[in-house]
């Protein structure tokens, strides 16, 4: 085995260069934002197809339904109930569902859905290690990429620490599991230690990084590498062309 290992998953979509994946998803989001419901629907369908091709269909649909779909439905419901209009469908106390509100909510939600769906897809496609390698290959400082990766990784670590603090507070008689009011009261005795321990942890983490030569001068090495193939380059050129076409097309449509 070569000393430097190329990170591959064996899936053609997931093994595309992260720059290609990021650019492709951003262009899809822009396409969805610049045009109406039809382009949004097309972008969502493309994202579903790409997720299936990447072997991430179930995870993608699950995340998409819990986030983008729920958010979109809430937006439509709120706008329908609270935007006043002439076309009243029904009334319930101070609330009235209007046709104007529904149409505005649908348009707004479609934009959210169109922009957010490619981002959910991107999370499913991109391998964090590969993305960081590509960022560093493109000249981004290791300090920036460290903060990026550590920020992503810190969420489960803080969740674990929160569990430890909650156990400690329970041991001291602080009620943490009951109705919402009890949980709100327990919020401050748990969030305080979490923030303080995180601040202390940041200082110790900085010392760890210094001790491990993170700020040492001179070139770095890595055990891992990623590929940037001809297919990647063609896809990126295609994405830039598509972006230019949709932006120009949108401007032309506005001017007419």
């Amino acid at each position: 085995m070569s000393a430097t290992e190329t990170i591959r998953s064996g899936n053609r979509v997931r093994d595309l260069n992260p720059a290609t994946q990021v650019l492709g998803c951003l262009v899809l989001a822009v396409v969805a934002l610049l045009f109406g419901l039809v382009s949004m629907a097309a972008v969502v369908v493309v994202c579903f197809v790409l997720a299936a091709a990447a072997g991430r269909f179930v995870a993608f649909v699950s995340t998409w339904a819990k986030t983008v779909l729920v958010l979109s439905l809430v937006i439509v419901a709120l706008q329908t109930m609270f935007i006043p209009g002439e076309e009243v469908w029904w009334e319930w106390g101070p609330l009235s569902a209007t046709g104007e509100g529904f149409r505005r909510g649908t348009l707004f939600a479609s934009r959210i859905m169109g922009a957010a769906t490619p981002l959910v897809l991107l999370v499913q496609l991109v391998d964090l290690r590969r993305l960081v390698l590509e960022m560093e290959r493109r000249g981004i400082s290791p300090k920036v990429t460290y903060v990026f990766v550590a920020t992503v990784n810190i969420i489960p670590q803080m969740r674990d620490r929160m569990g430890v603090i909650m156990d400690a507070q329970r041991a001291r008689g602080v009620e943490t599991d009951a109705n919402w009011w009890v949980r709100i009261k327990a919020f401050f005795p748990t969030i305080g230690p979490l923030i303080i321990s995180s601040i202390v942890g940041v200082e110790e983490k900085a010392i760890t990084l210094e001790a491990r030569g993170f700020t040492a001068t001179g070139p770095r090495t890595s055990l891992y590498s990623i590929q940037d193939t001809g297919v990647d380059r063609v896809l990126r050129v295609g994405a830039w062309v598509l972006l230019a076409v949709v932006v120009v097309g949108r401007v032309v449509l506005w001017l007419r």
Partner: protein
């Protein structure tokens, strides 16, 4: 030439009223295992930070005196580049993980990559250290999914792999159970046997007595005693300054008070058992 030379070192933390270190002089020879002991607040951790260069480059304050590592004044070297000269391990294993490595293997490789070690050599050194630290079974595990003792061994291995001649280790076992403590000390002992210079802060006195060549007693920022373990633990000032004695030394003292004539001060239970057996005329090697 001494591996570590501390000369008239005084340090006051920014916003502190009193100095944490007051005129500390210390010379640690190449390959020596030097333990620093003392009550809480004696200045042990500050001295470790000063030897590693974190004081005053990371922890700000007023510093006078000098610290040299292998003859090099650390004030003239950035703390990043000092990672090539001197290793540093501290007590909290959780915060000593890089936070970006997915596996123990990658965690060990992280520091070497920062120093620009060629990938083939990184792989070779990581494989070797996984065996030396007896953590090969965790090689593909997430470092954060390990227990505290396992994490501390990974933290120690992540530092030892960098190959510095001098290691500063600040209370590495304070959060560990007895079995994990023994494993960590076995690893530190192996590094000493490999010729590394060790500066250790530790409260587990039996281990200090067993492993150290020299013990330094700090009290309120000053060096009170320096010498071999038998000398320091045999001196009444050690307990006067709030430091516990190894259990074997306490037992030996109690025996001497009752008229048992022990020729030398035993530093471990094994040494004491051997001495008592010899006095009783039994075969001490049995």
């Amino acid at each position: 030439m001494a591996a570590v030379e501390v000369s008239r070192l005084s340090f006051t933390y920014a916003a502190a009223d009193a100095p944490a270190l007051k005129g500390v002089d210390l010379s640690i020879a190449d390959g020596e295992f030097c333990s620093i002991i003392g009550a809480n607040g004696a200045g042990k951790t500050t001295l470790c930070s000063a030897i590693r260069g974190f004081v005053p480059q990371f922890h700000k304050g007023e510093l006078t005196g000098t610290v040299t590592i292998g003859g090099k004044d650390i004030a003239q070297t950035s703390i990043g580049d000092l990672a090539r000269e001197i290793g540093f391990v501290f007590q909290n294993p959780f915060t000593q993980m890089s936070g970006i490595a997915r596996t123990v293997f990658d965690e060990l490789a992280f520091g070497l990559g920062n120093l620009g070690v060629p990938p083939a050599e990184i792989r070779e050194r990581v494989e070797e250290m996984l065996e030396t630290a007896r953590i090969a079974e965790f090689r593909d595990r997430d470092p954060f999914a390990l227990s505290g003792g396992q994490q501390q061994r990974v933290a120690l291995a992540s530092m030892l792999i960098m190959g510095q001649d001098t290691l500063v280790i600040d209370e590495p076992t304070s959060q560990l159970d007895p079995a994990s403590t023994d494993e960590v000390f076995a690893l530190i002992g192996a590094m000493k046997d490999a010729g590394r210079t060790i500066v250790l802060v530790e409260h587990k006195m039996e281990h200090v007595a067993t492993y150290s060549d020299t013990v330094v007693l700090l009290h309120e920022g000053r060096v009170v005693l320096t010498g071999p373990p038998s000398e320091v633990f045999g001196d009444a000032r050690t307990t006067e300054h709030g430091t516990r004695l190894p259990p074997a030394v306490l037992l030996a003292r109690a025996l001497r008070e009752r008229g048992v004539d022990l020729p030398e001060l035993p530093l471990s239970v094994a040494e004491l058992t051997r001495a008592v057996r010899e006095l009783l005329g039994e075969d001490a090697s049995a």
